[in-house]
């Protein structure tokens, strides 16, 4: 059953999840998205441009971070707007990968839907800024 506006309270956590991004995840996303920037799979290249190592695509982190909201919404739910700033890189270790944690809270509610605010962290630091998902919901 899809959530409705009447069920929501500002500040309530509606979904949370953690995801393990590995180098395999980055290669898979590179192929799926068409973003073949080598900073996402070649260590020497990433170091050469001043990064601390291979980093996840910002758009991969953004794409993964909305999934807990999509699951919570269910098949009838619609994301009408999604925005984020990329504030810190997610370094993906070749052996252990990188675990990102997503907490989705109700930021605002009105007649047509809600704004869900995402907190996305890696190593306990936020990696996305002002990550907001506008969702359309039934009124009751």
């Amino acid at each position: 059953m899809a959530p409705s506006v009447a069920d929501l309270t500002v500040g309530a956590v509606v979904a949370e999840a953690t995801y393990l991004l590995t180098r395999d995840s980055l290669v898979r996303y590179a192929g799926a998205s068409g973003d073949f920037n080598p900073i996402h799979y070649r260590d020497a290249f990433a170091l050469g441009v001043g990064l601390d190592g291979v980093i996840a695509h910002g758009m991969l982190t953004m794409g993964v971070a909305v999934q807990p909201v999509v699951e919570w919404l269910g098949p009838q739910g619609i994301v009408v707007d999604y925005q984020s700033k990329f504030t810190r890189p997610v370094l993906v270790d070749a052996e252990v990968g990188a675990t990102i944690a997503v907490v989705a809270k109700v930021g605002a509610v009105d007649d047509e839907g809600a704004r869900i605010d995402l907190t996305v962290t890696f190593n306990e630091a936020t990696v996305l800024g002002k990550a907001q998902v506008r969702v359309a919901l039934a009124a009751a």
Partner: protein, 146 residues
């Protein structure tokens, strides 16, 4: 970066045909578990004509317009110095398999911040009927010499 880029409109991209397998591939890559991204029957049950793309899929179509911007000979954008600053998608409706989409990029602002410059580009993505599907907005930061 060339400040005269501000306000420039690029020509519409060639139509991009959204394939069912491409949606599945993208959905897997962003760890989707939503059946409407993978199974036509689930998508049809939810009222869609075919599998539905995840919310960030529009970047695949938007990318074609950003390539136009980066390749513009007078833009003065060094791709190796480009960092993605922020991103937004504003949807009129979800993208579904079978859509044929074209995108048209407009440079909405060019700013300089110390040695760095920032360009904000809005790509309006429409279907073959000319109806708006989604606008994808990116701010790219071009790092200057520190």
């Amino acid at each position: 970066m060339n400040p005269e880029l501000q306000g420039r409109e690029f020509p519409a991209t060639e139509p991009y045909l959204v394939g069912r397998e491409k949606i599945r591939e993208f959905a897997s890559a962003v760890f989707s578990t939503s059946a409407i991204n993978f199974e036509p029957s689930a998508a049809i049950a939810a009222g869609y004509p075919d599998v539905v793309a995840p919310p960030t899929f529009a970047v695949v179509v938007q990318e074609r317009t950003l390539a136009q911007l980066l390749a513009a000979p007078d833009a003065g954008i060094d791709f190796s110095r480009v960092v993605h600053g922020d991103q937004r998608f504003s949807y009129s409706r979800p993208i579904v398999a079978g859509d044929e989409l074209t995108a048209r990029l407009t440079v909405s602002s060019v700013k300089t911040l110390g040695p760095h410059s920032m360009v904000t580009a809005e790509s309006a993505i429409t279907d073959m009927a000319g109806a708006h599907v989604v606008t994808a907005i990116s701010t790219l930061v071009v790092r200057g010499d520190e």
